[in-house]
């Protein structure tokens, strides 16, 4: 039996997805200016997962993410200005330009950082969950976002094993976009659904359509609830697709990395369009409200870009700061 989702939440999901989409599209657009001098791994097409999962999280819940983290950080509430400024390498960036796109951070919002080492973020999230337990912060939850590629790594397994052993409040969110750089899942893993690895560690595994934000919202809600209640970790697998190449603003289809028809097929499954259609159909958000949100999001993104572009570059002397 499905719980009703409040209009507030629906609007929040819509706004978050739209914000992520808009940021990624603007980054892609501006990238050729070569002013964002860092690799960008865009999550266009995968917005529903970040939005659906983070809609359940409070400020003091923690997330850890990967090289492809813009969406997660936005959904967790990160201000766009320091995010964009970080891509521009400015001191107004969330890491004063030290980290770039792959290392966004906002500890006060439950984002202790992101790592570009595949699989690295998974045990970190387990550690945050352990932290909550040891500090007696009941109800606090930690989420690891990672790709299907990270499932190849032993750290995934070691993390699941330990989280299950200790019954930690952590949710493992696998965004399965079928590729790790250009390697399809079938070149890296036997043909067993990722989610079917969960029972091997005595934890629930739930798969859902990663392009259906409501399905994500539902699956994540249950898992997060379970974690909050001290019932331990869950593995979630969301099938999705990235529209862009592994890194950078182009789609990489031309170079033959992925079949063009596969790409087109997934463009048709756009999570944002789908949600818009649903909201309209069910009359849950009026066109007027959508327009309003769209205008507002665009303003915020534009402001962030302006902010990012005009921030000062770090002094060379800053090089030596922050080592410890």
């Amino acid at each position: 039996m499905r719980k009703e989702i409040s209009k507030d939440i629906l609007q929040k999901l819509f706004t978050t997805m739209l914000t992520i989409r808009t940021v990624e599209e603007r980054v892609a657009e501006l990238y050729s200016e070569q002013e964002m001098k860092c690799p960008v791994h865009l999550c266009t097409g995968q917005e529903a997962i970040a939005a659906g999962v983070c809609s359940h999280l409070a400020k003091d819940d923690t997330i850890f993410s990967t090289h492809r983290s813009h969406g997660h950080c936005i959904a967790k509430g990160m201000d766009l200005k320091p995010l964009v400024a970080e891509l521009y390498g400015r001191t107004t960036g969330c890491a004063r330009g030290k980290g770039g796109s792959m290392h966004l951070v906002a500890p006060e919002l439950g984002i202790p950082g992101t790592t570009a080492i595949v699989g690295g973020c998974i045990p970190l999230a387990v550690g945050a969950a352990l932290s909550s337990v040891l500090q007696g912060k009941r109800g606090q939850v930690s989420v690891a976002f990672f790709g299907d590629g990270a499932v190849d790594e032993g750290t995934f397994y070691e993390s699941m094993n330990f989280a299950s052993l200790k019954g930690l409040p952590v949710v493992f969110v696998c965004e399965n976009n079928n590729y790790a750089t250009n390697s399809p899942q079938s070149a890296r893993q036997p043909a067993v659904p990722i989610v079917d690895r969960a029972p091997a560690y005595g934890i629930p595994g739930v798969a859902a359509d990663g392009n259906d934000v409501l399905a994500v919202h539902r699956a994540a809600g249950e898992a997060i609830e379970r974690a909050r209640n001290g019932a331990g970790p869950t593995l979630l697998e969301f099938r999705t697709y990235r529209w862009k190449g592994h890194v950078g603003p182009t789609s990489d289809i031309e170079s033959g990395c992925r079949p063009a028809d596969e790409h087109e097929e997934w463009l048709r499954r756009c999570p944002l369009d789908r949600f818009k259609a649903y909201l309209r159909e069910k009359d849950l958000l009026s066109q007027h409200d959508m327009n309003h949100v769209t205008v507002e999001v665009e303003r915020l993104v534009n402001d962030a870009i302006e902010f990012g572009k005009k921030g000062p570059f770090p002094d060379a002397a800053e090089l030596y700061d922050h080592v410890w």
Binding site: G97, P112, G113, P123, L124, S142
Partner: protein, 349 residues
């Protein structure tokens, strides 16, 4: 483990760090560590210990015995044999408010955890412009002797010292063992403390109250004027014996206990070499790109014109560790090698 127990007896030699004159309380290196851990757990709720089998009756060569009983399983935690994953877990805990201490029975298991130590713990502060620190302490113990062989006897300080962002400390004395452990646990830098099993029975006066030995400061263990011996960890012990031996030949050796490999106290080396004009770098690890190279390089950079003799390095030979006892004997340098080298350098052979 029997082979270390047995070997410890074989090596059971008198203390070197000026046993105190009666009134002060003496502790072994082992008990100094245990006391530091207990006090850290006592003082600071953020501290917990984790490691493979640290709660078993042996208690990591005695250094954690009784702590689980006193502080509970949540704060003195056994763990799966999953070094990289669990290092990630302690890193994550450290990033979110805890001050974990992770304990490895052998330095040799650290390569398993290298990614989380090198790519994560050591870099996180920098990547986040100091917004998120990783206050984690790793303890790892060097095995030696009784056929420990290639995979159970490495002394890998140089690997970690090469990586900016992680402290590497090698206390040689009980006093430092306690004080460095306490300061590392209380501090907010990721720190690797490398201990040597053969030091565990060393005793000296150790204050009962908590105290903090800062990183980045070497210590002149014995002043001298003819030659400088810069040594690390257990080699400090061999250097002290060598210095005593050299004294008989009227050679006055200054022994510097490097203690802190990263940050490293270059000035202590330079000052001493400027005075003595001769330098032996005696490290527990290998030579190539090792601590001994760093020590020699510092002399070449900052005291080359004061050198009266070539710098010499005393390290392990460039081979993995052999098992056979006779090869082990040939493998490990001792005070005798230091004595011989010093005499050669001074021309007093």
């Amino acid at each position: 483990m029997p082979w270390t127990k047995i070997q410890a007896d074989e090596a059971g030699r008198p203390g070197i760090f000026g046993a105190s004159a009666g009134t002060a309380r003496e502790l072994s290196y082992r008990d100094a560590i245990k006391e530091a851990l207990a006090q850290a757990l006592e003082r600071d709720k953020r501290v917990f210990l984790i490691g493979e089998g640290i709660d078993d009756p042996g208690g990591v060569f005695g250094t954690t015995v009784g702590l689980k009983e006193k502080f509970g399983r949540d704060r003195v935690m056994d763990m799966p044999i999953a070094e990289n994953g669990l290092t990630g877990v302690v890193n994550g805990a450290a990033m979110t408010g805890m001050h974990p201490v992770m304990i490895h029975m052998r330095v040799d298991f650290l390569p398993m955890a290298m990614d989380q130590m090198v790519n994560h713990a050591a870099k996180w502060s920098y990547m986040t412009a100091g917004r998120v620190k990783v206050p984690v302490t790793f303890r790892a113990i060097v095995g030696r002797g009784w056929g420990s062989a290639a995979q159970h006897s490495q002394s890998l300080q140089s690997l970690f010292a090469h990586i900016p962002g992680i402290q590497v400390l090698m206390p040689a004395s009980p006093y430092d063992a306690k004080g460095m452990l306490l300061s590392s646990i209380a501090g907010d830098r990721p720190t690797l403390i490398i201990e040597h099993r053969w030091l565990y029975d060393q005793t000296e006066a150790v204050p009962e109250d908590p105290y903090f030995v800062p990183s980045g400061k070497a210590l002149v263990r014995r002043p001298g004027k003819d030659i400088t011996i810069v040594a690390t960890s257990y080699m400090v012990y061999e250097a002290m014996r060598a210095a005593a031996e050299l004294e008989k030949a009227d050679i006055s050796a200054e022994v510097i206990d490097l203690r802190s490999i990263q940050p490293l106290d270059g000035n202590a080396i330079i000052d001493s070499v400027k005075k003595t004009g001769r330098l032996i770098a005696a490290d527990m690890g290998w030579k190539l790109c090792g601590v001994s190279a760093e020590v020699a390089a510092i002399a070449a950079e900052h005291a080359h014109d004061k050198l009266k003799a070539p710098v010499r390095r005393i390290t392990l030979p460039a081979t993995p560790t052999p098992a056979s006892n006779v090869l082990e004997k040939a493998y490990y340098p001792t005070f005798e090698d230091i004595v011989r080298t010093a005499k050669e350098m001074i021309g007093n052979v």
